[in-house]
Symmetry: C2
Subunit: 301 residues, 2 copies
């Protein structure tokens, strides 16, 4: 009757699967139970939430879908946060990273941590940018590293899904990849504003997704002709070297790539920024790494 968490969970699952019976299988219920769950939710809220045949959210269902996943995530986060208190693993450290977040700054801090506590069981998992925070909130990872593009010393616009603290871990200049024989490849720097109408390659899984570039530059430009899925910068560089379009990457990374020339980008001033994400109360090896990285960026500044 009451709007309960498991009702919300099946509601979300039904719309995820676009099917009652599919959601039932996924949740380990019978189809009948799922049907009753949705009916109970609809009765409780006094509105039809799901259109059946085909299964789709009604306007009210859409509204609820804007809340439910975040709610369930926070619920898991709360449970994880309590569990962490008692099941802390002082010899394990799991790090969730987006693709380009594992910079040398971070790697050096990790090495330093390993040096002080040699029997540390370290695991690094590279994930899509959006799920890194979820991993941290649900304690599947102790720390998160998210990279993105922002104005210098501006924070990244992370979705606010729960009580997390973020800390700048590194800032690197941006560079544009040109084929080595491209006329602009000789330049010491290029202005991004001059390149909004150029041919771009969109590589949303690497360090600089074009939609983010559009948002930060407040332009409608940077329209891609080629889309590149995957986190491998070498493949992206190969495309750029072949003249299929321009691509942007952090300068230190871009400079090492074969077949292309990395030209620093300015105007607008943008940086590739990496942020460390942790919960309000990091447990022991995580807290040490936070301190190490905080110290590094503080002295590097």
């Amino acid at each position: 009757m009451r709007m309960d968490t498991h009702l919300l969970r099946t509601f979300v699952a039904v719309l995820d699967h676009r099917s009652f019976s599919g959601a039932a299988k996924a949740l380990g219920y019978t189809q009948s139970a799922v049907s009753q769950h949705v009916a109970a939710l609809e009765a409780d809220l006094g509105a039809r939430l799901v259109e059946r045949r085909p299964v789709a959210p009604t306007p009210a269902g859409t509204r609820l879908l804007e809340h439910a996943p975040a709610l369930l995530l926070r619920l898991d986060a709360a449970r994880a946060d309590v569990a962490r208190l008692h099941h802390a693993q002082p010899t394990r450290l799991t790090l969730a990273c987006s693709a380009a977040a594992l910079t040398s700054t971070v790697a050096r801090a990790l090495a330093q941590l390993r040096a002080t506590t040699p029997l540390l069981d370290l695991e690094v998992r590279v994930l899509a940018r959006e799920v890194v925070i979820e991993e941290v909130l649900t304690a599947r990872a102790d720390l998160g590293l998210v990279d993105g593009v922002a104005a210098p010393s501006d924070p990244l616009p992370l979705p606010d899904l729960g009580p997390t603290t973020t800390l700048a871990a590194a800032e690197q200049p941006l560079a544009v990849l040109f084929p080595t024989d491209h006329p602009l490849a000789r330049r010491r720097s290029v202005r991004l504003t001059d390149l909004t109408q150029a041919q771009w390659i969109d590589a949303p899984d690497t360090a600089v997704p074009l939609d983010r570039l559009r948002a930060v530059c407040r332009t409608e430009g940077f329209r891609p002709r080629v889309r590149h899925r995957g986190t491998d910068p070498h493949g992206l560089a190969a495309l750029a070297a072949a003249g299929l379009g321009l691509a942007a990457l952090p300068l230190p990374l871009a400079a090492t790539l074969p077949g292309v020339t990395a030209v620093p980008a300015d105007e607008p001033r943008l940086v590739h920024r990496t942020e460390l994400v942790h919960t309000a109360h990091p447990t022991e090896p995580a807290r040490q790494l936070v301190d190490l990285i905080a110290g590094r960026t503080a002295t590097a500044r």
Copy 2:
């Protein structure tokens, strides 16, 4: 067994009341049920949450308390958001304000709205700063107005309790209230940094709580000797006029108060800022007011 919403609700109630039986009365349960709820939560999370006799949170309970109220609020927010779709009241508009947020800018926008839709049933409720957002999220108010102190054009640090949009409604300079015979009362402006060690009156319910001033100025100064509870600026002015201590208020308000001289404050540059808070999908009369205020601040800029 599962970490359910009503279990969390009684958990919070128990620690609010510092009593099982008190919480039971408040929730309409028997004491026995409350006891079982807490036991079920503890069994589910595998940790003792509440210390009994006296009733107090354990470390794990404290951790859970950092999540539970926000979670329950978001649950109510989700329910309210769906309910709004069907029970929209196009002739009612309820506005939740913190004490000093009802500036002339807002008042004029309200007058304009009343002019265009004359049979509008308007209600304004003045509340503590922290609960304004809750009122908006749970649809007890259609719009919220929160005031506070910030650097010019910086947003106020609102607690992130749910999907809300904020919009600057007004910015006013700050002023310090001096007794008219005070030596600094003649000055055309004063530097707040020179006054950190002065005697202050803390009036946390008015426009400029001292703890906020400390936070923004990053100082340990502004220590109060007198505390003033209540939202009435005249009472505060009377205390300041009698020489009990200094107080800060927005200049337009401060200039009208008897017995004191309002001297504009600068260094650091701070403003009294009012922000309009609304949900992602404001309903009709609310949306109009948002547009009106957005238009006003846009043209005023």
